[in-house]
Amino acid sequence: MSIGEYFNLLWTDYTLRTITLGTAVLGAICGMLGSFAVLRKQSLLGDAISHAALPGIAIAFLITGAKDSNILMLGALVSGLIGTFWIRGMITKTHLKTDTALGLILSLFFGFGMMLLTYIQKQPNANQAGLDKYLFGQAATLVESDVKVMIIVTGICLFVLLLFWKEFKILLFDADYTKTLGFNTRFIDILITFFIVLAIVLGLQTVGVVLMSALLLAPAAAARQWTNSLGLMVILAAIFGAFSGVLGTAISASQNNLSTGPVIVLVASVFVFVSFIFSPGRGLLFREIRFRKNRKDLQLKKTLQFMYGIVKTHDNISHPHAIRILNNFHGFTRGSLRKLEEKHWITLEGQQWALTNEGFKEAEDLYNQQSNNE
């Protein structure tokens, strides 16, 4: 099946529609909350949380013996929250740095989870097959009830986000100051972290524990490039996330044997790549263009100022001078003379140049500007 066929089938095939809706909603909620994680410089926390969720999935299966995704998710949520709690405790109670605490919890929980998974796989229970899907994710396993849960959680998350928008924003920018205003920063902090954990757990079935953090961070990192407003950043990140989810799932579903997680992450990375290069404000490309243009402008203005210095000594502004006398000036080239003529700042005739009234005025302004700055 090609991708074109996949999207054609979308209109008729119920299963595909469910899966696509699910990944779109998942991408959106991850993008929204990922913005907060990125701005709080907690990018790596997402990675630690998703890995920390694995033992929860395994234990939930061991206890219930069933592969009900809601119960597994509950297990993941509990173990993810325990992981987060431990990380926080390690940072505040010991001298360990944040990255060390994250690394320790990540590998500890993931190792424990992997051990449980291999143990489960050796069990004589036909039911265990497919639990390893949680490593790299498989969107095809999404069913209607999963998507319903996703939509409900996203709805609640959106509601809380709008309700506490002001509080979230100020905490992200300046936590100490927020405290002095009388807000319970601990509550706001826990609320944000809880929803980040929830979004991660929600995505484990589709994207998998190993790569989940990328879906959280990539859309947000891409969105940051396009806007200087927090609101717009969150909206853009949700849109980028939704597209990454849908496109990634389409590609992985239309090819055989492609895990969903890696493909979604690759699509999201394309968004990041394009944003880092092509965004008008912060992108590398436009920055380079602006930089070069500025240099050229400055060179031109320096030349004009040099000419102004010569012209000033004469009564007649438009008195022609030999081009030869510019040779001592470093910024001068034949090209810059032509540019100056195009701007109608000078006129060229044979081997001579003359300042126009316009050019004289421009140079005078430049001169004044500079003496004002000093």
Binding site: K166, E167, L172, F173, D174, T180, L181, G182, N228, L230
Partner: protein, 246 residues
Amino acid sequence: MEEPKLAISVDDLTVAYNYKPVLWDIDLAVPEGVLMAIVGPNGAGKSTLIKAILGIIKPIAGSVAIYDKPYEKQRKLVAYVPQKGSVDWDFPTTAVDVVMMGTYGSLGWIKRPGQKEKKAALEALEKVGMLSFKNRQISQLSGGQQQRVFLARALVQNASIYFMDEPFQGVDATTEIAIINILKELRKAGKTVVVVHHDLQTVPEYFDWVTFLNVKKIATGPVKDIFNDDNLTKTYGINYKVAVNK
């Protein structure tokens, strides 16, 4: 003569991060309407003192009263200007938006700022000479401009007591003058201002009250009475012949 009211009184305040105390047994009484500098060497606990008074750091012992009532009940009377370097200025927001945050405290939970808050924010920006930068992304402001935005955010709170953590750090002369003029205006309006300050030369010129701090409180009182060689030497540990005798 009637005694002036006490704006801030700190009692037995002690703070420790690990084992060593950062602040030891600080008693402080700041009368209303003074412009007070807190001076002391690096690591003397100047910022910590402000943070402990404001409840950002939990002290091991001691209490803080604002106009004779516990600080928690008097938050609305107090405004804070943190160190400029304490936040990430690449945060996606504009100057007027940051200033508007000063109104969040009086708005309380959930309620959003409206026209009234926006107007107050613009007025504060005008006071610090930053009105023309109101829609500028904050990362594109110079260090001095960022400091003035922070000051405007505190002004919007319309408080009685202002705490400022090194507002003159890394700003140019224009901003320094702009800030000190605002501080003097605040004093004229009967407000109390407490400033963590590094430049000893300017203490007598800018302030009328001073606290010497080096883990313990060395001295506190009017600049003209206590800003002398003796206290400077006690605080900094070396004989400090500076602006005092100028």
